[in-house]
Amino acid sequence: MRLVHYSQDAGLDGMWHAAFVRSPVPHGRVCSVDVSALPPDCVALLPQDTAALGRYGCQLKDQRVLADPARFVGDIVAAVAAPTRSRARAAAQAVGVDFDELPAVFDPLAAVAEGAPLLHPESGASAQDKVSIGVRPLPGTNVCHRFRLFNGDVESGFAASAVVVEETFRTASAQHAPMEPHATVARWTEDGRLEVTTGTQTPFNLRDDLAGALGLEPERVRVIAPPMGGSFGAKTFTRLEAIVACLARKAGRPVQAVLDRGEEFVTLNRHPAVVRVRIGAEPDGTLVAKQLDCWADTGAYADCGPGVATKMGYAGVGPYRIPHVRVDALAVYTNLPPNGAFRGYGATQSVWASERAMDLLAERLDMSPLELRRRNLLRDGDRFATGEVMRDVHFEECLQSAADAVDYEDDPRGKGLCVLLKGMQTPSRAAISVERTPVGYVIRSASCEMGQGIRDSLRLQGAALLGCEPGQIEVPDPDTDSSPFDTRTTSSRSTYMMGRALADAVRDLEAGGGERGYGEIANEGGLDPDTGQGIASTHWHQGAAAAQVRVDEDTGRVTVERLHAAVYAGRVVDRAGAELQNEGSMIMGLGTALLESIEHADGQITNANLSDYSVPALGDVPAEMTHELIERDGAEVHGLGETALPPVPAAIGNALASLGVGLAELPMTAERVLEALEARDRQAAGAAV
């Protein structure tokens, strides 16, 4: 049986193992670090070793190699390396750290309120630390980014609306829980270059962050990215690499870090969010105005919180024609582990709110939720709230496919729908090279394999373009020394962007004699963070889902009997791979909808294991689970690695709502459902009196 080799499978001679000293307090200055009890044969990385190193971060430079102050329970304040993992762990426990505790805050609304403790008073929420002009921190606050979108005039829009509905929705934090934990090996070469082999989706971002932190030119840092045992966004940007690099330098030998499962819960999680939706419509359901206020809890460090808040903001508008729109989305610091990229990238949280609100509106209008959506869906040629003109639009087909799959139009009881749009990272750049080999070709691409099948996709596309068999094409692991630049492997962009770059490279190869070719594609655009106008996405990820549910009225337990997702694929490159992405997204969506929530007490994660944190198992797959990949002749490849996740919770939530069980918070646990059932029955009893 063919086995994949992951980053922890490669050991290097003389390699030592890292363990981390983590803060037990949610917010505190490091007063002293006592290493007197440290065993002799190990190396410790202490605050004085890293104090002079640069700050880093993918969107705001608010992280240091070792934290001081510690800003969440689990923040790494020191590290040790020892010959074996167990000795490293024992050594880490022997390090004593004294903290001067500071007040902490654990909720984004509390964090923006008057008097909230500031997590980054001197840095981070500051214009100097922005990585791009698209980031808008509010100095002197815990807001590390504010995204706003204005289209028309919502006040007059609401005034002109016959019906206005408003509700606040919440989404819990979640853990990506890739089966493979984070694993990194760092070594310094004899001439002082840093080589990092790590599971990552973002090799070039990482290289730049490491170079900046360590005061090196980017060319003096090499990042190699072996395939990952799943990631879903967890293995992005800089996680352990800077610390491990410093440990390796101090130890004078390669050092490896592999996290245990408990540590995975304090490394990177999904943004919990509060999303308030206000939506106004005419009596016939034509949408007039929509206001969306989002508070995305980005945890102790910004990471890509600004990007997530932005996407949350515009995805929350939904695939609808709405003349008056206002969005105000904040990425807010709290003393919890950092939140970052998570499959769906903000869309899950705002689609939950937006699509549940649509059903609330439908109820107020005494209208079918399907009909309400149909009336307002964007079509080719319409302008989206960002000002961009929509093309290659298939929302109606996606929605119809979903509705048909559960016979919605025959009887909508116990059934719910959701239709969404999400964007693809814009701007971005992808480059690729192709070289002839004795047996075929080698394609060098920095797209990282995490199970999504990008390597297979490149082989298939390459084979078709080059006229050979996929098996003749070698696709080595991304290596910043030899792979051409790619923005990063996120946002369901790789098959599309790399595929286009590959076509370009093959044209170059053919024009140049057949030995080698290089191709580069850029998609331009971006949104003005103050107005939300511009190009959010060169093309749109479009999808819909439908769910049919049954509820045990004595326990609140929800059984999803039927679940369907329809996704616009444009052109499918690797059918099995695309099916797996849809199915996988749906199952992950099921987890978000019903099972998953990171719990904490005063900032300490209390369910940091795979028993107390519940993820879907085989028995949780709905009895009827189907999906559709919608294609059109001559269409562009549309990424679909995430699209079928965000609509699942809203479809289930709307199905429950059709039974009188209205929930505004994810996950829809049995306990919450039971409370909603009791509220429904009390109301019915009250109405009957």
């Binding site: 004595d554 326990t555 337990r557 019903l594 369910n607 107390d612 519940s614 879907p616 049995a670």
Partner: protein, 273 residues
């Protein structure tokens, strides 16, 4: 460095127990111990393995009484023809534990000695009137499940004792085991109900909601007068719900558990009608 002791007779094991006491950690199947060791909660000085003691894994029926050896795996109990025929509710309860993997390794003795509140077997064994045999160099005693389990992960097993067998009286009549999971299909139980009805009356034990399996004999006595009908079952459910102080964990709050206890006890009693 952890020392390894693997006696090949029960007598030797008991002598070692008397000698070492708490210093030597008893190893049966090793699933629970493995979790503690992997999490760093336990670094044993010495492991005392029961794996080489002959006949400690036996499953037999003697004079109508089921005798489960401490080292019998969950899988062996689940599959035993004798258990399936004479105590089908027990085979079912054991078959519902975790996964085939865990059941291939975890033992009868282990699960009882661990006293993990979220386990399935204790509630069913309690409802069946099982007794647990504890042996030491001093002698032997048998205690009921309610006496064995004292609190969270706490039993009455003395430092020189080993749990060697679980004895289950002839099955009284109808029995049912309900395992309510509040989250995934693989979740540990949120509320578990074992209900047995025989000549001696109704016995209902609720597990997974508190540190020890919960039983309210006075409430069950309500059923002695007649076969339970729906209202009686609901009444028993309601009283169990009021009479138990459940705990909160990631599977549900105390308040939620109360509500589910009422429903699940009612359903269990209805199933015995």
């Amino acid at each position: 460095m952890t020392a390894w002791l693997a006696p090949d007779s029960l007598e030797e094991a008991l002598d070692l127990r008397a000698e070492r006491g708490a210093e030597a950690t008893v190893l049966a199947g090793g699933t629970f111990l493995g979790i503690l060791m992997n999490q760093g909660f336990l670094v044993p000085d010495t492991l005392l393995s029961l794996g080489r003691i002959p006949a400690l894994d036996g499953i037999e029926v003697v004079d109508g009484e089921l005798r489960l050896g401490a080292m019998a795996t969950h899988r062996a109990v689940e599959r035993s023809a004798a258990v399936r025929e004479g105590w089908p509710v027990l085979a079912r309860a054991f078959s519902l534990v975790a996964s085939p993997r865990v059941r291939n390794q975890a033992t009868v003795g282990g699960v009882m000695a661990d006293a993990d509140y979220a386990s399935d077997p204790p509630a069913v064994l309690a409802a069946l009137g099982a007794r647990v045999v504890l042996r030491s160099a001093r002698g032997e005693r048998a205690v009921g499940v309610g006496d064995l389990i004292q609190g969270y992960y706490e039993t009455c097993i003395a430092e020189d004792e080993l749990l060697v067998q679980v004895r289950v009286p002839p099955s009284p009549g109808r029995a049912v085991y309900r395992k309510f999971r509040s989250r995934s299909s693989e979740d540990r139980p949120c509320v578990a109900v074992a209900a047995v009805r025989g000549a001696a009356g109704l016995r209902v034990v609720v597990g997974a909601v508190a540190e020890r399996p919960q039983e309210l004999p006075d409430v069950c006595a309500l059923a002695d007068t007649s076969l339970p009908d729906f209202e009686l079952a609901a009444e028993i459910g309601r009283r169990y719900s009021e009479g138990i102080e459940p705990m909160s964990d990631s599977r549900g709050s105390a308040g939620y558990r109360r509500k589910v206890i009422a429903a699940e006890v009612r359903r269990a009693v209805e199933a015995l009608a």
